[in-house]
Assembly symmetry: C2
Homo-oligomer: 379 residues x 2
Amino acid sequence: MTEPLPETGLELRSLVTSDGTLELSLHDVAIPAPGADEVVVRVEASPVNPSDLGLLIPAAADMSKATVAGTAGRPVVTAPVREEALAGLRVRIGQSLPVGNEGAGTVVAAGASAQALLGKKVGIAGGAMYSQYRVVNAAACLVLPDGATARDGASSFVNPLTALGMVETMRREGHSALVHTAAASNLGQMLVKVCLADGVPLVNIVRRAEQEDILRGLGATHVCNSSAPSFESDLVAALQDTSATLAFDATGGGTLAGQILNGMEQAANAAAAQYSRYGSAVHKQVYIYGSLDTGPTVLTRNFGMAWGVGGWLLTPFLAGAGPETIARLRARVAAELRTTFASTYTQEVSLAGMLEPEAFHSYLRKATGEKFLVTPQVD
Amino acid sequence: MTEPLPETGLELRSLVTSDGTLELSLHDVAIPAPGADEVVVRVEASPVNPSDLGLLIPAAADMSKATVAGTAGRPVVTAPVREEALAGLRVRIGQSLPVGNEGAGTVVAAGASAQALLGKKVGIAGGAMYSQYRVVNAAACLVLPDGATARDGASSFVNPLTALGMVETMRREGHSALVHTAAASNLGQMLVKVCLADGVPLVNIVRRAEQEDILRGLGATHVCNSSAPSFESDLVAALQDTSATLAFDATGGGTLAGQILNGMEQAANAAAAQYSRYGSAVHKQVYIYGSLDTGPTVLTRNFGMAWGVGGWLLTPFLAGAGPETIARLRARVAAELRTTFASTYTQEVSLAGMLEPEAFHSYLRKATGEKFLVTPQVD
């Protein structure tokens, strides 16, 4: 079933120049022949995740001043990078970087020991997915279940493994329930389903009433709307009900992480019989895994001394989890790809389409409920 | 050498009433006969540590409005507690609480199996040290070296074990160098000496030039003055020199913890050859162990995703360290009590003297270099 491969494929690149310009463009790159244990995947679908955007369009780029040149098929976007932030981008200056953490497509060529994958639909991860073709190790491919499309499998890694990683982290660090912010996201909806299936109490924090409805529709018990006047007491009540002492926060900036810690402390103290001058002895942890709010994290410390706030990232989590855990999590993703781990996309764009102003202004907003799917095979 | 014991001794108490008043006073409490493995210690010296103040005078008490009644020998201080903070003190309301984490004195009575301690000078910890007599388990006593006075041994626990605990935590969590803020404190000076002896690179952060001089006089190599215009670059240079990735911060509030994390990240990236979109993979940690600044902790997150900020407290550290480690650390404190772990006091006060406005306004300032010693045997 092999078809003749083209010699080159398109690849989206992000470049920051030394004079402070961000440049996004499409390049023709050679498609190498696969090694014995490698496959060539024709990438058919790849999501635009928040975790892709930092590399694609650094926060320091002022996209309100972006201009588009080039041709319709080969647009070139340029935008100024704030000068004071250029030092922080030092190590990437002058490098034309491919982008795209994950995607799915069809195996169109395979090395001698990877022939079994030929013609299969697979999900893959590992960067440079905003490309028409990717050569990857066969072992890195997640074979999609029969009948699943590339669109079904495009988001098989980042969000599903992050949702499962949160629950794994909870167990490993001795907590018994979770809090999640920006909880109506694709990831948040997966987490609701995973926690329901696993019997893990989950406190969902959203910002709008319609997001509450989405999560309650999935069966979520505890949904707190941070825009509601009763948010603070709603949160403490949910934390008392669940005894959640671990939160994953996608917002990062602002006061929310501190509010959660204070709520956990209030919930712990509500049951306390004796005064402890240093606050409750219960360890309260917030992991910041996203940065929807890039402003400072502000912690008003009324939560004793047994607390932590820190960064959480999928890749180091997986590295620490070990191959057996990874295999178990991946098998679950494959088995539940179109149920628990189903993603919804509101727009499809081609590689060139990603570089249209309407598209990049839209995906940079990171609005809950909006999600782009890149289709590199479409012109 | 036993002397007849009085039936009661004075004890300082702190009470928050349900109508929102803080009351500090002295009480006569019975001195119980020691059990078989217990001793009665005549407390002769006890320091006023920042860690005592939260219990003695909660931050919510408005001491600018304090009044003193009673007699010269039995003063009673009252001050209003801010109403909005009263809920947070709920579990201590109505309880007359003894205060004082540590102290030293003479064993004046001993149970059958603790006779060997009779007449010894010992350091003790465990609360209620702002008292004339304390009954404690013999095993809890640190026998002071020959010739050491109660003043020498008054601070044998909190500061020495905290300094040693910081170095232990560093080793246990895989770091190789330390950062310390408010570094000219009694504790900070101990840490300088411990790190010099143990060959641990240490970055000291102080706020004034004369504090720099104190630490350099002790042999400190890296001393950064946060009031200096060059502080930010001084800090990064020191972090590059030392590769310190763990900090202990006594200030808590403000931007310092975040500045340290950003400095660590800059130091890590200065050596980086390749761009990492999530920042350096080096884990950077700040433990907040004090709260000299009770304002919010403000983290401007330009330090990637491999970071943590959290509370650190001596008691849970010791609980986790286990008896062998504790015994090793205590033996070192005893051996180096008048060298590495020497404390300096600027004022001595009696129990009644602690309740004089001049005294409490002074120790509440927590000024570096100023330290009170309570002498409960003095009228």
